[in-house]
Each structure stands twice: as C-alpha cells, then as structure tokens.
Symmetry: C2
Subunit: 131 residues, 2 copies
C-alpha cells in the first residue's frame, strides 16, 4: 500500500502546517508566466513547432512588437518553461518538454494524493496513480 495513513488535520490552518509536495509544485512564478494571453500563444506556437525557433520567427505568431516578444520569451525561460540558445546573432528558444510535462504530472499526482478516497469526482484521473 502506498496509501499514507497520516491523520488529516481538521482545520485548514493545521493543514497549512503540514509539508506536502503541492507546496513546491504550486509555484506562483511558473503559473504567472503561463497566465498571460500573449505568452501562452507564444508557448503554444513554439510547442506545436516542436523545434528551437528564433525570436524574430516566433514574433510572427502574434501581432505585438518584437521587443515585447523578446521580453515574454525571456520571462518564460526564467520560469523554466523555455530554454534559450544563442548561435551567431540569432537567439533561439525551445520548449523544455520533459521538465514542463513532468512538473505538471507531479502536480497532478500531488493534488490527487490530497484528495480523500471516494470523493474523487473524475475517474479519468486515476492514470499514473498507484491506486
């Protein structure tokens, strides 16, 4: 049984004391990076392209100024979502596929682990979980 038998705290305040994987995985800085329409568009564009792309190239995906795109990409890189690489005078950004998806899955697992048995309202979420 991987099922923990820690007693559940009664109040949210007590619960807040308990260390839990969600504390680290629910990173506001990461989600802030994904919380902008333009940035999400750039990210989706880059993900669907599936290869490192130059800043100028990526900028053609949306109608904002190149300088704005540059800033957004740098921010996404700082948040760990993208990886930058420089070659000559062109800077390319690529999605950190593995890091991002494994972070998201770890968070999903951590959230599920918080859910008391029987109150799980979506059974498609049992994938990846040790039951």
């Amino acid at each position: 049984m991987t099922q923990m038998n820690k007693r559940r705290p009664t109040t949210p305040k007590q619960a807040a004391m308990r260390r839990n994987p969600v504390d680290d995985l629910l990173d506001p800085e990461l989600f802030k990076a994904l919380g902008d329409k333009t940035r999400v568009r750039l990210l989706g564009c880059l993900a669907k392209c599936g290869r490192p792309c130059a800043v100028g190239e990526i900028a053609q995906c949306c109608s904002v100024d190149l300088s704005v795109v540059s800033r957004h990409l740098a921010l996404l890189a700082r948040a760990g979502v993208l990886e930058a690489s420089k070659s000559g005078r062109t800077v390319s950004y690529a999605v950190r596929f593995g890091e991002v998806s494994s972070h998201l899955r770890a968070l999903a697992d951590a959230i599920d682990a918080c859910c008391p048995e029987g109150s799980r309202d979506d059974m498609s979420a049992t994938c990846c979980r040790p039951a």
Copy 2:
C-alpha cells in the same frame, strides 16, 4: 498506432495555424488564477485539508483581510479550480481534485505529444503516454 504522422510545419507561424490540444489546455485564465502567491497558498491549504472549508476558516491560513480571501476564493471557483457550496450563512469551498488533476495531466500529455521523438530530455515523462 496512436502515433500521428502529420508532417511538422517548418515555421512557428505555420505551426500556429494547426489546431492542437494545447490550444485549449493552455488556458491563460486558469493559470492567471494560479499565478498569485496568496491564492496559491489558499489553494494549497484547501487541498491539504482535503475537505470543504468555510471562508472564515480558510482565511486563517494567511494574513490578509477576510474580504480579500473571499475575492480570491471566488476567483478560483470561477477559474474552475474550486467549487462553492452554501449551507445556511456559511459558504464552503472545496478543491475540484478530479478536474484539476485531469486537466494538468491532459496538458502534460498534449505537450509531450508536441515533442519530436528523441529530443525528450526527461524520461520520467513517459508515464501515461502510448509511446
């Protein structure tokens, strides 16, 4: 074989045209809700507690005014992360465990699916994927 054999577009602009699951799953509104320090704290607190909690109760988890907590919780509910239920004069919020975790996993899958074979840099991400 679930492996698609769609040719990959060369430019990000072309890639942006192609419909892809990430387009819907990368929802800025959802991530904006998770992109605030206080809100994330409330959410983590509520998740770790694992049961519906009253607003006043949850407010004790952080040092901001009760009215601020009320607004944050309403926002998280609007974003689909929490569910509100009223009983008498107390309003309780609970984490929508199944919805949230399955959304995150679906996004992780969609992102992985964008990743060209062989460039996956984190092999722990192969869980849940049809290879």
